[in-house]
């Protein structure tokens, strides 16, 4: 018996470090992975051209948003829906952005039955220059949208330059989006 225990003790001492090292490496991956939000997908849409789209009118009297509206100036396209509770949370900030006149703000009313988007905007206020209804997710899927609200910053050539998943907060507007708008406006055409 003493033979066996002697031979096992004969393994070099550094071998004992291996299991601890493996544990630390795996633990490190978990510590990193578990703090990330799995709902936030890496966007493949950055620096791509805004896809072509055909949206329907919010109400028969109002023209629908077209891709042509986005060309020639920096614009912010906000995907919302009357069913979306985070959109109510984001709404005051959108009103503030519209009031600041720093960027052209457009709306995509996503997956709403006819009239629902218009009623929602009548109730909370309409911050958008123009809005289009995407009732069957065609534009949403083309943009890789996973939920509302999502907002796309589009440059003068119609390329998507930034994407925000979830509500725009006052901090995000002041610290990230507004500086980016200034930068895009300074770009030579």
């Amino acid at each position: 018996m003493s033979d066996v225990s002697q031979s096992r003790a004969a393994l070099p001492a550094w071998v004992a470090v291996i299991p601890v090292a493996i544990l630390l490496i795996i633990g490190g991956f978990f510590a990193w992975g578990l703090t990330r939000n799995p709902a936030e997908l890496p966007s493949t849409m950055i620096d791509r051209e805004m896809p072509d789209f055909a949206l329907t009118r919010l109400t028969p009297e109002r023209e629908a948003l077209t891709k042509q509206d986005l060309i020639g100036k920096v614009s912010l396209v906000n995907v919302f829906g009357s069913w979306c509770s985070s959109c109510i949370l984001e709404h005051p900030q959108l009103e503030a952005i519209a009031g600041s006149k720093q960027v052209a703000l457009y709306g995509v009313d996503w997956r709403d039955p006819p009239g629902a988007g218009a009623a929602w905007l009548a109730r909370y206020g309409d911050p958008y220059i123009k809005t289009g209804v995407d009732s069957d997710s065609r534009l949403a899927i083309d943009l890789g949208v996973t939920g509302a609200p999502e907002t796309f910053l589009v440059d003068r050539e119609g390329r998507i330059r930034y994407k925000q998943v979830g509500p725009i907060t006052p901090e995000l507007w002041a610290d990230t989006i507004l500086p980016l708008i200034r930068k895009l406006e300074a770009e030579p055409t």
Binding site: R8, L41, S43
Partner: protein, 153 residues
């Protein structure tokens, strides 16, 4: 009671809840679209495929997949269309590429490391069992002394 439980379990299982789209597509399109849909992740409820999920976005994706198949697109083209917009994340089976090598071969690597460690641990013990170390001169002398002492006591 048992029947009730079974009935409830069936009623809430995602496979039966997910609505089949209106039957405006041919059976061939439908079966191809199902194959594609089963390998596409629903981005709302992330561990279901779009065929199983009853999220509104998944149902719109199912319809889009059917329309594209019906328009003559191949399964690969439809997968590429979705991957192009949602990234590799939308594929339930991740592709084999540089940044997924660890994902695909990590378990095999761990198995090899474990096996090598296990054999390294066992090997010396095995050798000693086969060929015991002979006693040293001091040990032989000590043994003889103790045998003698034991005989006397």
């Amino acid at each position: 009671m048992k029947r009730l439980i079974v009935a409830l379990a069936l009623a809430t299982s995602p496979a039966t809840v997910a609505q089949t789209p209106p039957a405006t597509f041919t059976p061939e399109v439908e079966s191809l679209a199902r194959e594609v849909g089963k390998s596409l992740r629903c981005v709302v409820c992330q561990n279901q495929s779009i065929e199983e999920s009853n999220a509104p976005l998944a149902s719109d994706m199912r319809r889009l997949v059917r329309e594209r198949i019906a328009a003559g697109e191949s399964k690969d083209a439809v997968m590429a269309y979705m991957t192009d917009r949602y990234g590799n994340f939308v594929r339930l089976q991740p592709p084999l590429q540089m940044d997924t090598l660890l994902l695909w071969f990590g378990p095999l690597l761990l198995l090899v490391v474990g096996a090598v460690g296990w054999f390294a641990y066992l090997r010396p013990a095995g050798k000693h069992d086969l060929a015991p170390v002979p006693l040293s001169d001091a040990e032989v002398a000590e043994l003889a002394r103790r045998m003698e002492a034991g005989g006397k006591a």
